[in-house]
């Protein structure tokens, strides 16, 4: 009941976003085979639109989110922010629990349930991670991950306004989680929105330096974020199991390309163009020149 206006509000946003996406022309696949391969791998047919939204998000971040995150970090001591973060994480637990169950992972579901109970009761509403001291480690699940476990493909990459990087599957997951969140039974949309804001600011405040550095050192920040998002989601879906996310091409480090070129140019080391003192140009296949 309380949520009705919230639903209508989010439904309208979704509608507008969808319409905007459909109206925008998709990127035309390149004809060059190499570019075509890269295009398919990026799985980002909506790239022009996504980049526009990314620009908007960057501006939003520059003028609103990042200053808010900096202010948050500057004004509150570490301990206080840690308490706030734990409360927020505890509030996420019902969603994680539901998704643990939906993924058929009863062990992790029990863990989440126990953490939630112990921390809410003994940890004073989640302010303190009492369960963690008993070895019950926190983890998070969302409906996007559940869909992935059920075998849904990620679908094309999506840049959501404000929410940031996503894809069709995770965007659906985001919607389902926010509608199904049991917290919605108790709170109205202003409270839920307030939580979302604090959560966003808190999360942003944890990555101020890493994101600055990433932007500074990336040649194409958009493509870097896209790659990181995909790899991180893969890790989350696999619950941190090692080595699961490396795509097949990178497993073969045999570099057939290098061998191919090494044939016509066996020793690039004594290159006539003495313009490259920086690289000793170690050829992998050609025998050591020395």
């Amino acid at each position: 009941m309380k949520n009705k206006s919230f639903f209508r509000f989010s439904a309208r946003i979704c509608g507008v976003a969808l319409a905007a996406m459909l109206m925008t022309a998709c990127a035309t696949p390149p004809t060059d085979p190499e570019a075509r391969k890269a295009f398919d791998e990026a799985n980002d047919p909506l790239e022009p639109t996504n980049r526009t939204i990314f620009e908007f998000n960057m501006a939003f971040d520059k003028y609103l989110l990042k200053p808010a995150a900096e202010g948050y970090r500057w004004s509150l001591p570490d301990d206080t922010r840690a308490v706030i973060r734990r409360v927020l994480q505890n509030l996420r637990a019902p969603v994680t629990f539901g998704n643990d169950v939906l993924q058929g992972n009863m062990g992790r579901a029990m863990e989440t349930l126990m953490r939630m109970t112990v921390n809410t009761v003994m940890g004073m509403g989640g302010m303190f991670d009492v369960a963690g001291q008993y070895g019950l480690q926190r983890h998070e699940e969302d409906f996007g991950q559940t869909l992935a476990v059920w075998g849904f493909d990620e679908g094309p990459y999506l840049m959501l306004p404000i929410f940031g990087p996503s894809n069709i599957r995770d965007a659906i997951g985001l919607g389902v989680d926010s509608v199904a969140d049991p917290l919605g039974w108790f709170l109205g949309w202003p409270e839920l929105a307030a939580r979302a804001v604090v959560e966003g600011v808190d999360k942003r405040s944890q990555v101020i330096e890493p994101l600055d550095e990433l932007e500074r050192t990336s040649v194409d920040f958009y493509a870097t974020i896209r790659s990181l998002y995909r790899q991180r989601r893969m890790d989350e879906i696999n619950n941190g199991a090692p080595g699961m996310n490396l795509p097949a091409p990178s497993i073969s480090y045999d570099f057939p390309d290098d061998e191919k070129i090494a044939e016509p140019t066996p020793t690039p080391a004594p290159a006539p163009a003495a313009e490259t003192p920086a690289t000793p140009a170690p050829s992998l296949v050609a025998k050591p020149a020395s």
Partner: protein, 208 residues
């Protein structure tokens, strides 16, 4: 007598039991030592809070010594390597090395806060390679450790080389490739333009 034989037998068995879990092949053991040696040097310079030029130099040495830079560089441009002229390749390789030094020297300096690296187990990776696991442990016990896996392989005539660093299952090499290939795909494989962008990026990073 019997008792002594029994005891020494027990001793031998327990010794075997103790060493068995760690009895990964020599390549795995070597890889662990190798990664530890490189990481210790990186941490030492970070801990000393050395000036940028000095730090960059250490990272450059570490990169050249410890990484198969050329293999990584080739991987990072995907099939576009085949489309480069010899001159473009040389310039790309040179810029790539500089970019990586600058990137990681400044990235690590900006996030380093007294953490230590603990080397964990190693497992084989193909015929001549190993994955070395490790974790970054913060001095603040509340921080969760960060997992870092090092992909090491034996390169003919050059010994062990790192070919990927994977932080919480995020591959640095794959991320770099997606960055580069993303550009090349968007600019229709315009290699001179791509190299120009790298040149600008490196120049910018070196001065700041």
């Amino acid at each position: 007598m019997i008792r002594r034989a029994f005891l020494s037998g027990l001793f031998a068995v327990s010794l075997f039991a103790l060493t068995a879990p760690a009895s990964a092949g020599p390549l795995e053991d070597e890889s662990r030592t190798f990664v530890k040696g490189l990481a210790d040097r990186a941490i030492a310079v970070l801990k000393a809070d050395a000036p940028k030029a000095q730090r960059d130099k250490v990272f450059e040495d570490l990169l050249r010594e410890g990484f198969d830079v050329k293999a990584i560089a080739i991987f990072c441009v995907g099939g576009y390597w085949n489309k480069m002229t010899e001159q473009e390749r040389q310039e790309y390789l040179s810029l790539f090395e500089k970019l990586i030094v600058q990137t990681y020297s400044s990235r690590m300096a900006s996030v380093y806060n007294g953490q230590n690296l603990e080397i964990g187990a190693a497992r084989p990776d193909g015929k001549a390679g190993a994955w070395v696991t490790s974790k970054i442990v913060s001095t603040n016990v509340a921080d969760e450790p960060i997992r870092i896996d090092w992909r090491v392989r034996q390169v003919d005539g050059k010994g062990l080389k790192i070919i990927d660093v994977v932080v919480t299952n995020i591959s640095m090499v794959v991320t770099q490739r997606d960055d580069f290939v993303g550009i090349l795909q968007r600019n229709n494989g315009n290699i001179p333009e791509f190299i120009g962008m790298l040149r600008d990026k490196v120049a910018k990073l070196q001065t700041t």
